[in-house]
C-alpha cells in the first residue's frame, strides 16, 4: 500500500516535472523565436530604409544633377548684350548652383559614396572632416589598425557613429569628442567620449526624445552587438559598442 502511494507520488511528480520542463523549454524557445523574429523584422525594416536611401541618392546624382548642369550650361551659351537679360541669366545660374549644392548635401546625407567604395574608416574620416570645418565640436578619430568588416555591417556601424556624433553636436554642448574604432580578433569596438553636459540615458530612452538612441539600439541588435551608454549629468557621455564579426 505504502509502495503504491510512493509510486503514484513519484509518477505524478515526474509528470508534473515533465510538464513544467516542457513549459519552461517552450517559453525559452518561444522567447528565442520572438527575439529572432524581432531581429529579422528590424533588419528588414532597416534594409528597406537603406535601399530606399540609396535609390534616392542615386536618382539625385544620376537624373536630376546632370539635367540641372545641362540647363546651366545651356544658359551659359546664351549670348546677350542686354544688361537686364544678362542679370537674369546670371542670377538664375546662381540659383541652379545653390540647388545643386543642396542636392549634393542631401545625397551625401542619404548615403556617402565613400562608404561603398572605400569602406567604413574612410567614410568616417570624411564625415568628421566635413564637420570639423563647421561644427562647434572638435572631433578626433583614433584608429590603430585597419578595419576589416563585412560590407553589410559597415552601413550600420557608420550610421551608429553618425548618430552619436549628431547627438553630441545637438545636445551635449561638448567641445571635444573622441571616437576610437578598433578591430580585435573577432569583434569590432567603437568607443566614444565627449566632455559635454551628459544626460540620463534611461530617462531619455523612455521619452519620445530618444528616437536616435532607439535607432542606435536597433542597429546594435541587428549586428548582435552590445551597446552601453555611460552618462551622468555634467560628466560627459561615453558610448561603448561591441560587435561580433
Amino acid at each position: 500500500m505504502g509502495d503504491k502511494i510512493l509510486y503514484t507520488t513519484v509518477l505524478i511528480g515526474c509528470l508534473v516535472g515533465v510538464i513544467v520542463l516542457f513549459f519552461v523549454v517552450s517559453i525559452i524557445r518561444y522567447h528565442r523565436r520572438y527575439v529572432r523574429l524581432q531581429r529579422d523584422r528590424l533588419l528588414a525594416e532597416v534594409t528597406i530604409l537603406e535601399n530606399e536611401r540609396r535609390r534616392i541618392a542615386g536618382d539625385l546624382h544620376d537624373s536630376l544633377g546632370p539635367l540641372l548642369s545641362t540647363v546651366k550650361l545651356n544658359m551659359g551659351s546664351i549670348e546677350t548684350d542686354n544688361v537686364f537679360e544678362r542679370q537674369v541669366l546670371d542670377k538664375s545660374s546662381k540659383y541652379i548652383d545653390e540647388i545643386i549644392t543642396n542636392m549634393r548635401e542631401i545625397s551625401y546625407n542619404l548615403l556617402p559614396s565613400t562608404l561603398d567604395r572605400k569602406g567604413l574608416l574612410e567614410a568616417v574620416k570624411e564625415f568628421i572632416g566635413h564637420l570639423n570645418g563647421t561644427a562647434p565640436v572638435r572631433i578626433q578619430l583614433h584608429c590603430w589598425k585597419e578595419i576589416v568588416i563585412p560590407r553589410e555591417k559597415e552601413i550600420h556601424v557608420f550610421r551608429m557613429v553618425q548618430e552619436i556624433v549628431h547627438n553630441t553636436i545637438k545636445h551635449s554642448g561638448a567641445r571635444h569628442l573622441h571616437i576610437g574604432i578598433s578591430h580585435e580578433s573577432n569583434r569590432l569596438l567603437v568607443m566614444t567620449k565627449d566632455d559635454g553636459r551628459g544626460f540620463d540615458a534611461q530617462k531619455m530612452k523612455e521619452s519620445s526624445m530618444g528616437l536616435g538612441l532607439r535607432s542606435l539600439e536597433s542597429r546594435a541588435e541587428i549586428l548582435r552587438g552590445i551597446l552601453t551608454i555611460e552618462s551622468k549629468p555634467q560628466e560627459g557621455t561615453r558610448y561603448y559598442i561591441e560587435i561580433p564579426l
Binding site: P66, L67, T70, V71, L73, G76, S107, S113, T114
Partner: protein, 220 residues
C-alpha cells in the same frame, strides 16, 4: 594661327553631353572629335580620334573614368584628361587625379571655368575646380598627385596675402585688414597666381599647403 584643340567628352548622360557639346562647338579654337557614353566607348573613341583633351565623367557604367584614365595614359602619355564630378565626391576626385587626370571640374561649372580648365591642361598646368573645399585641397596635397615642391621666393607681403587668399578673404577685406587699396591687393593676387602658375583660389590653397606656406590647421 595654331590648330584647334581637339576634344572628346565622355559621360553617360546624353543630355549633359549634348549641352557640353553645344557649348564647346561655339568656341573658335576647339573642335569636338567625339563623344562616348562609358569608359569602353571612351577608349575606342580616343584610339580612333587621338584628341588633345578628354573631359571624362568619373562615374560611368561598365568602366568608370578612373579605370579608363589609367588605360588611356599608358597608351597616350601626353593626353590631357579632365575629370568631371557631379557631387564633388572627394575620394573619387583624388583617385581620378592619382590615375593621371590633369584636373577636375564640377559639372555645374560655368562656361568660362570649363574653358579655363581646358586652356590650363593644354599648357600642361593642373586645374582645380573653383569650388574646391579645404578638405579636398588637403586630400589632394596628401595624395601622390600634386607636383613636387618648387622653390619660388615670395615676399613677406605676398606671403601674408597668400594666407588671406587661402582663408577666402575677398580683395576688399584683405585691403581693409592690410591698409592697402583693393587695387593693390588685386595686383598682388594676380602676381601670386602667375608665380604659382595657377588659375584660381583653389590652386593657391593647394600650392600653399603643398609648399607649407600655410598649415591645414590655419584653414579650419
Amino acid at each position: 594661327m595654331t590648330s584647334p584643340i581637339r576634344l572628346v567628352i565622355a559621360d553617360d548622360h546624353e543630355i549633359f553631353r549634348d549641352g557640353l557639346a553645344l557649348m564647346l562647338s561655339r568656341q573658335k579654337n576647339m573642335t569636338l572629335a567625339g563623344q562616348a557614353a562609358d569608359g569602353g566607348e571612351l577608349l575606342a573613341m580616343v584610339r580612333e580620334t587621338q584628341p588633345d583633351v578628354v573631359l571624362a565623367d568619373i562615374k560611368m557604367p561598365h568602366m568608370d573614368g578612373i579605370e579608363a584614365t589609367k588605360i588611356l595614359l599608358q597608351e597616350f602619355p601626353d593626353l590631357k584628361i579632365i575629370a568631371l564630378s557631379m557631387f564633388s565626391e572627394e575620394n573619387l576626385i583624388v583617385e581620378m587625379l592619382e590615375a593621371g587626370a590633369k584636373g577636375y571640374l564640377l559639372k555645374n561649372a560655368d562656361k568660362q571655368e570649363i574653358l579655363d580648365a581646358i586652356a590650363s591642361v593644354v599648357q600642361n598646368q593642373e586645374y582645380y575646380c573653383r569650388d574646391t573645399s579645404v578638405t579636398l585641397a588637403s586630400m589632394i596635397v596628401k595624395s601622390n598627385f600634386s607636383r613636387k615642391k618648387e622653390v619660388i621666393e615670395f615676399s613677406d607681403r605676398e606671403l601674408e596675402i597668400i594666407k588671406l587668399i587661402c582663408k577666402q578673404f575677398t580683395a576688399q577685406e584683405m585691403g581693409e585688414s592690410m591698409f592697402l587699396s583693393r587695387r593693390t591687393v588685386e595686383g598682388y593676387r594676380t602676381r601670386i597666381l602667375e608665380k604659382m602658375n595657377v588659375k584660381n583660389t583653389a590652386g593657391v590653397v593647394i600650392y600653399a599647403l603643398k609648399n607649407k606656406l600655410i598649415s591645414e590647421k590655419e584653414l579650419l
